[in-house]
Amino acid sequence: MDMNEETSGARKLRCDDTSKCFELLESILDGEMDNSKEVLKDKLAKCQPCFEHYHLEQAIRDVLKTKCTKHEVPTELADCIRQKIQDIK
């Protein structure tokens, strides 16, 4: 979280406040942060744990999205709903 950390080029290996940082990174991934690009760039460049956490979070989301949203809808469901609505009209 420390924005004044010197930038020596290498990422620091310890994160001073993983709890706050990781929640912040999640908010950024969830699209809940303004000026997120600058904050993110800064954090990922400086901190190894944040860098890893961010990429892991992103990977899990990608996999969830591609593998868990393809449950096929029964073909008759939409017709069934329309029919029932006709009945109550």
Partner: protein, 199 residues
């Protein structure tokens, strides 16, 4: 659905809203219902009941607002009221209790940092799906709403009737729990999850 009664839509408007704004979400609705009930017939009934309720209460839907969030809210309430008892999921977990329990614990970040992003990318559908399904329903729900369906925190708060702060913390806990499950799969697949502790 306790909002103030808005103006009444004509029959034609009702049909337009139903076909144009409600029906396009049937895939997401069924997916959500299936992940709540784990049963295809229950999921079908749940979606059907939700759409019938949506039609019946269409006057309380304000055209131009987020129909998907409105429908998800009805579905989630129907699930709690009618389907939770008979669904095949493990015994009900009281989320307040779960949250208190997990919040009282300092989160173990070691477990999250040693699961490599690469091993997650290689996960098969069943593994990630089982990991998600094994979460308690309140944790599973926030992951579905956020990561699968892309709702904002504000929309989730409305769908779930909880404050935004609770949405945020529940999501955070849910993700940590999911990583715990995935770690187990990764280890079974032979990934070395104990390598280099960064923290």
């Amino acid at each position: 659905m306790s909002e103030v009664q808005r103006r009444k839509y004509s029959q034609e408007e009702k049909n337009t809203i139903f076909d144009g704004e409600f029906m396009p979400h049937i895939d997401s609705m069924y997916n959500f219902a299936y992940r709540l009930t784990f049963d295809e017939d229950d999921a079908k009934d749940l979606v059907q009941d939700t759409y019938l309720k949506a039609y019946r209460f269409v006057n309380s839907f304000e055209q131009g607002t987020n129909a998907k969030a409105w429908l998800f809210r009805i579905l989630k309430n129907s699930f709690i009221n009618e389907y939770r008892k008979k669904s095949k999921q493990p015994a009900k977990v009281d989320y307040q209790e779960v949250e208190t329990y997990y919040n009282s614990d300092d989160v173990q970040y070691q477990s999250t940092s040693d699961l490599r992003a690469e091993s997650v990318k290689d996960m098969l559908g069943d593994e990630i799906s089982n990991a998600l399904n094994s979460l308690a329903v309140d944790f599973r729900t926030v992951i579905i709403l956020c990561d699968l369906e892309g709702f904002t925190y504000e929309e989730m708060a409305k769908i779930l009737d909880i404050p935004i702060g609770t949405v945020r913390s529940r999501l955070h806990r849910a993700r940590n729990l999911l990583k715990e499950k995935l770690k187990g799969y990764a280890q079974n697949m032979g990934y070395d999850t104990d390598e280099e502790e960064a923290i």
